[in-house]
Symmetry: D2
Subunit: 361 residues, 4 copies
């Protein structure tokens, strides 16, 4: 019911504006006794941090996370964990023009209609900067998964499409993901994307992207029937990331084109355990995990803050034009990769605790 809280048992609440004094989150419901240090969070924040290549916003934010509570002598106590990041490179003046004009494709207009006023500094609360706190919460969720799932859960994300350019899945290499500025699993595609994105930047334009996030090792049985479905919660988690317009699980939209025989993943016993011969389900059947890899994809629309002038209106109800300067990601989808991973981790940690609550260990 809160609009700034995510999750049920493992849950976090975020706060803070893009150009306010700080961003923060409060992570509640973490099991006690799990080792946790600021470095465990920082490592994931660093992956998402802006300004690391010419393909992301040039805003220089160290995004240094500070744990304010809930950890004692290196372990979680079971009480709420607050994480704070101070904004360092805020430049509210950069945003003079958007004070009165609405960027087409941006939340500027809808916030203003809803609330009658808005914090126009860099998008305020609607800024992608908020996603840093999702990554912080995701870091804690990963620790929870490590502590509670024997063998652990490996969550990985990759950019599989930028603008119209897709990866070749035959060349997929998770190792490549950390080697290029796009989290691209296809080394050859990554190279060609550089030229494409340089061109997009040069034109003052922007482009969209598709991200795929997978979780390997999640136990079967997570999720719930009917309204607390694991896939429904994942859909909400991913669709709730800034600029996301589509989410699919497993075969996704392609499932509509398959026959019943093609789609239904057959099962065999293997070494005493159930094994599936395919994974069109994306690891989820009837809202509950099957034990296979959980596979989610989501599409991010192009950044709406672009140099190219666009027709719009202003707060006084007058027609006008806008051309957005300032520091923006030409493809906000790139930095959505660690955010998608974090949301996956949070959803799984939450469902793990929910399952344990109802069904026991």
């Amino acid at each position: 019911m809160s609009s700034n809280t995510f999750g049920t048992l493992f849950r976090f609440t975020t706060f803070g504006e893009s150009h306010g004094p700080a961003l923060g989150c409060v992570i509640d419901g973490t099991p006690p006794g799990i080792t946790l240090a600021e470095a465990d969070i920082q490592v994931w924040l660093d992956r998402r941090r802006p300004g690391q290549s010419r393909f992301t916003t040039q805003r220089r934010e160290p995004d240094q996370a500070r744990i304010l509570s809930g950890v004692f002598e290196g372990r979680t106590t079971g009480t709420p964990i607050a994480v704070l990041i101070e904004n360092v490179d805020a430049r509210p003046k950069d945003y003079g023009e958007i004070k009165d004009k609405f960027r087409p494709g941006h939340a500027d207009y809808t916030y203003w209609v809803k609330y009658g006023l808005r914090d126009h500094r860099g998008g305020g609360r609607a800024s992608a900067r908020e996603t840093a706190m999702r990554v912080a919460a995701g870091a804690v969720a990963r620790k929870v998964l490590s502590a509670l799932v024997p063998g652990g859960v490996v969550i990985r994300g990759a950019l599989i499409q930028i603008g119209p350019h897709k990866v070749d899945r035959a060349r997929w290499d998770w190792g490549a993901v950390e080697e290029n500025p796009f989290f691209c699993p296809d080394r050859i595609a990554a190279q060609s994307w550089e030229g494409y994105l340089d061109e997009v930047r040069r034109r003052g334009s922007s482009c969209g992207a598709v991200i795929e996030v997978t979780a390997a090792g999640a136990p079967a049985g997570l999720g719930a029937p009917v309204y607390g479905k694991l896939d429904a919660d994942l859909a909400a988690a991913m669709m709730g990331i800034n600029a996301v317009k589509a989410v699919e699980i497993g075969a996704g939209f392609r499932a509509a084109e398959l026959s019943g025989e093609e789609n239904a993943d057959e099962m065999r016993m293997e070494g005493g355990k159930v094994s599936f011969l395919s994974n069109n389900a994306g690891g989820i059947l009837g809202g509950i995990s099957t034990g296979q890899d959980i596979v989610v994809r989501f599409a991010v629309k192009p950044t709406s803050s672009i140099l190219a002038p666009r027709r719009t209106v202003d707060v006084h109800g007058r027609d006008t034009e806008i051309s957005t300067r300032g520091r923006h990601d030409p493809c906000v989808g790139i930095r959505a990769v660690p955010v998608g991973e974090a949301m996956m981790a949070c959803v799984l940690a939450d469902h793990l605790l929910r399952h344990r609550g109802q069904c026991g260990p």
Copy 2:
């Protein structure tokens, strides 16, 4: 946090198994004083009812809704509205074979893993039969929207793809939707679909579908930033419908291929009101409605209960085969149309009350 409750302020809880004595829902949070009769619910249930054409399950259920509470002298009282439907044509024996075997692509296996036991009669709680109660709740949500939104909100759904066959959007006619057994807005496509689906049935196979649901007239300002986003809630609502594997808003996955200029819907003043020149956003920006049509699409996978034999395992951990007899929809996506409309209505009614709570009338 409940796995059988949907919504925050306008919320409903459903119960009942496919072959148990009854299905029901409890709708809570309805504003008082709204006219409501059983007929207001029945009209929508009838749209979803099975057995109305040869393209849906031949189970004969009148799906007669009875209101047990919350309505007095023809008006809602503000207290919970319980709706009950008795199961009439339950034939548990039809499901003998699935008692011990898991249908590939079905929730059979995951329920069993999660709970250690399951009501195997017709899928129990995982049956699409549960969606009747979503339609009942949606009927009440429509009444709420009518009562509170000046001019009303028109929610309509259509099947835009069946198997690999898509409609031609140039031929879209909402009038056609009620004239064919597919809720297809393209009369020509509807005709060819008959032959296609007859063939699917004849083969004992099944196929998937894509549904589009739109809401016209929803006021700008509904939704919430960050985690109670209107699009995130819609994504959860649609992904939570049985067999749905993908959801998109507005341009959806195609948004990834657009440039920033193409994607951002420009704005102009028109007759003193803000008007958009396109609707790639699908009526939602930053999680908040813009006042444009809200447009959602979702993909339904092919029915997993098929005659064609599939390899599977049983509850004793043995390899086996299964071929599902009994009465099943060859394309469960058809009857998902009224269900998608209902979920849209419920999400909008909920956000209308949430908006009113925080921001006033």
Copy 3:
């Protein structure tokens, strides 16, 4: 956030009016595999049923519970359990006079102010009849506690005061509770109460009562710090019962008069386990159970539907008088005993699952 739902993980939603067709509840979150039959619920409903002595309302309701879902082959499946009781002895006409007049001390007026209309038949939703469904939910909660707590949890309630007449705690005998129509643990008091209550009935008056409910065997560690405190949830549970005006835990109000030395229950090791030398805490410290008996007391005000004429106003804003005929409990506190027990069971079952979710088994 729902006004008709109680609990977090073990949660139930009730519906139904006093003189509508039926009452019901939907119990969600129950662990799977627990044996449950209608008789398990009926036994507790029978304790609360009206018309069993001349000291409760003469309305004749069999209160026959029917399980509509969530149980398969005698065991809970983990899906929602719906319980339905049809109203048999509804006589809406008995309530003609209260249609337009507000009973002083009753919810008549506040429902009408809040909703602008109300179901005036016997108090509608505000009737004590709703508490039957709490007892049904409590019956399931007891089964959950039996299944999950080694040794079980024994929950017992007693009437310890009726009007100004208190029991003598020195004569406390749990065996006596089932032997008199008051759930009174003091046989001598019970006898004198008969005369007192006969006299109250004869005068067309009513009286209040104090109930004590204890839970023995609840493990230490249930509850949560700060806002999900076990005592806070118990306070809400008991204060939420119709006509309750006060709740206390352990020493309760008397704790204010104790010195720090007197109040703090000292601890000793006994047989390898922590043992307390007193129980002023009522089994709860810092919102978390200590392992001692959990002790709650609550006060029920006198029934507001009385024969004695009272000054009031009507829906037309006119001064008038009211004298309530019809069938009412002269002391609604008596039947609150099984209701208080049920709420204790529900709160403990909920916290047991919540604890297991966060902290494991």
Copy 4:
């Protein structure tokens, strides 16, 4: 479901330990456009601040509140308001002895049993220091009430009993409350309490107290039937304050002794409005406000950290003794007065928004 969040639509989440780096809260759901400055919060924090008289803990905390988000150009934006207070006078070493020993009557033991470890510095999360954040949230709630309720809502609290010494209600003067270190409304009682409490301190003992909080001006119609009752939420709110063991509304426990005629507050029309001739209901009937003063009382047990040696056990399961040094309130009930007021404000603001959501303005 969160153990560190309070409220439904107006809701806040707190974090922070007594001797950690900071305390904070995140207040979500505030309507937009309400004027809010740090001074609006500080004024209430200052009332609760320790070290203002010899009768409260000598810990010197300025409790300087900093708003980190949700306010822009002096007005709430509708997004979450984070408030931070840095701990200045933390002295973890003062608490050496309680590291391994459990203080009888304190949460030391239950936290340790529940979580298997605990932040022993000054009680960690169980410290009364957490209540500073309730006061901060309450300050924002008061602003909400001022903005939305015509005429405003006046919330006031008073200490009406300390140890066994009660005020004389005939001498009640709200003006006196701010003139003595006890928030005592009876000037003569306040004087005698000084001697009593000096004596308690001298003995190294502690004492309990009873607080009464009233709200005048709250509109009729707030609250909800059955499980979201205004009195149930108030009971949870007050019982959830540290060391509270009892809560009552209006006549409270005394209602059990009244006859139906005495208890039922009669009604008359007065100047076109409904007026009540008494207020045994404490302003709440059937869980919904009547428009009268809302009256809540709660009892605070004596501080458990006392100098007088008490028998206890340690974390190693050995019998021992404890005598608590360090800085403690001899009567923690005194500073509970502003906390009770704050919780009243939060509950009313929440129900105001909930009512507006369902029933409109």
